[in-house]
């Protein structure tokens, strides 16, 4: 079985794969492979947002929990999605709990390393925003529809 390098994995990603080869190598320098078992927590709300998870395979539940209610899944993300944006917004803390629903394989980008490279190379940073923002916008759009309660009546 052929083992793929992280750069090869990133170059096949629907969003990050749009970078040129040199930029991919730069990003890969901040990255490592991670694996989570089903049920394992990937991040907890309020923790330092030290990693950006580029999901390769598997499903992840974004959850909100409180003392008086069971954790509520507000969204699921899947292979091809990028998990988290707290890494980009000071003070760099995760905003939600994320739990692996299935076995999850991902490429984890070190957030501090990534920010440093974007600061050093604004062209890289601009491209990252240009490629990543449509993904974020699509998820925002979907969540607005979710809030709109499209299907009306419910007895839950």
């Amino acid at each position: 079985m052929k083992t793929q390098s992280i750069a090869e994995i990133l170059s096949e990603h629907s969003i990050l794969g749009r970078f040129d080869a040199d930029s991919i190598e730069l990003l890969a320098g901040c990255a490592r492979n991670l694996h989570f078992g089903a049920g394992e927590m990937i991040q907890r709300e309020g923790d330092p947002a030290a990693l950006v998870h580029v999901l390769r395979t598997g499903d992840v539940a974004i959850e909100i929990s409180a003392a008086h209610i069971a954790p509520t899944v507000v969204e699921t993300v899947h292979g091809g999605d990028i998990l988290g944006w707290g890494w980009l917004i000071p003070p760099y803390r995760t905003m939600f709990d994320a739990r692996a629903m299935t076995e999850v394989s991902c490429v984890a980008l070190d957030a501090a390393c990534l920010r440093g490279k974007c600061d050093e190379d604004p062209q890289l940073g601009y491209q990252l925003f240009k490629y990543w923002l449509p993904h974020l916008a699509a998820r925002f759009r979907a969540q607005r529809l979710q809030v709109a309660d499209l299907y009306g009546r419910d007895d839950d």
């Binding site: 699921t76 979710q146 309660d149």
Partner: protein
């Protein structure tokens, strides 16, 4: 001598008897009905009938059963008012009136050789079920068949047993998602648009056809998302719902711009009607 008034047959209800009233959800039932005159029933996927609860009123309800079954007609009805409530309350042996079938069908047979993606939101799965069954009956002629189903919550998923059967058959790819998870739900959470990219995996968007049915805002966003993914507007169809009374394009209650939904729809091609869905005034 006074001539008797001639009533066009399309306006004259036939009598049907309820064979089974199957509760689907807390406020949704499926009526299985048989004609009293013993004739065969008809209706293409996507068409609707006018169901008459005697002494209460008449409403348009999509056919939701297998189009290959010419003995029994199925209609899935949500109890939202006086007439739908009366219909949902009919027990085995009760009678009702029926006019139809009316309207335009889903163009299932025309999709031979194509990748067919069917997107259902909430009760929108009911008018799509005949199309799914017909697509399954001609499965070998389709390049691929995918079904994306969205519901408000797990308890609001329509036809869960049939969805499980279809998923188990391997004949079609099913993606099921809810807007609001409840404890114990281990499936996807998010609106149907979040599942479309994956539903199209392995397909050339130019070869994809889509049938979409659900609330208008869901259909609008789904068709737009399909266009963004490269599916031509001319290869997408939606099913519209309006207040239909005569069902033959005479009374004007269901007028939607230049079209009457009962006569020119309810199934419309997206490139014909999509722009109108963005006009709030109609």
């Amino acid at each position: 001598m006074i001539e008797p008034i001639r009533i066009p047959s399309a306006l004259l209800p036939r009598r049907f008897r309820v064979v089974v009233n199957c509760p689907e959800l807390s406020d949704v039932s499926t009526l299985s009905i048989l004609p009293l005159d013993g004739t065969q029933t008809s209706g293409k996927p996507g068409q609707f009938n006018m169901l008459y609860a005697f002494g209460v009123g008449e409403i348009a309800i999509s056919i939701s059963g297998n189009p290959a079954d010419t003995d029994t007609l199925l209609h899935t009805i949500r109890n939202v008012g006086a007439v739908s409530g009366a219909l949902c309350g009919l027990r085995e042996g009760a009678m009702l009136g029926l006019r139809g079938p009316f309207g335009t069908p889903w163009p299932v047979e025309a999709q031979a050789g194509r990748d067919l993606v069917i997107i259902a939101g909430g009760l929108g799965l009911a008018p799509l079920r005949p199309a799914i069954l017909q697509a399954l009956s001609m499965r070998s002629a389709l390049r691929s068949l995918s079904l994306v189903v969205g519901a408000r919550s797990p308890s609001q998923i329509l036809y869960p047993a049939q969805l499980a059967d279809w998923a188990g058959s391997g004949a079609l790819r099913i993606s099921l998602t809810v807007d609001r998870a409840t404890p114990g739900w281990t499936g996807m959470v998010g609106v149907v648009t979040t599942r479309l990219e994956r539903a199209l995996e392995g397909c050339d968007p130019a070869n994809v056809s889509a049938f979409v049915c659900g609330p208008e805002v869901m259909m609008r966003h789904s068709c737009q998302a399909l266009e963004d993914l490269g599916v031509p507007a001319a290869c997408q169809w939606i099913s519209m719902e309006r207040n239909m009374k005569c069902a033959v394009g005479s009374c004007g209650h269901c007028q939607f711009g230049p079209d009457f939904v009962c006569r020119d729809g309810p199934v419309f091609r997206w490139d014909r009607i999509g722009a109108r869905l963005r006009i709030r005034e109609i």
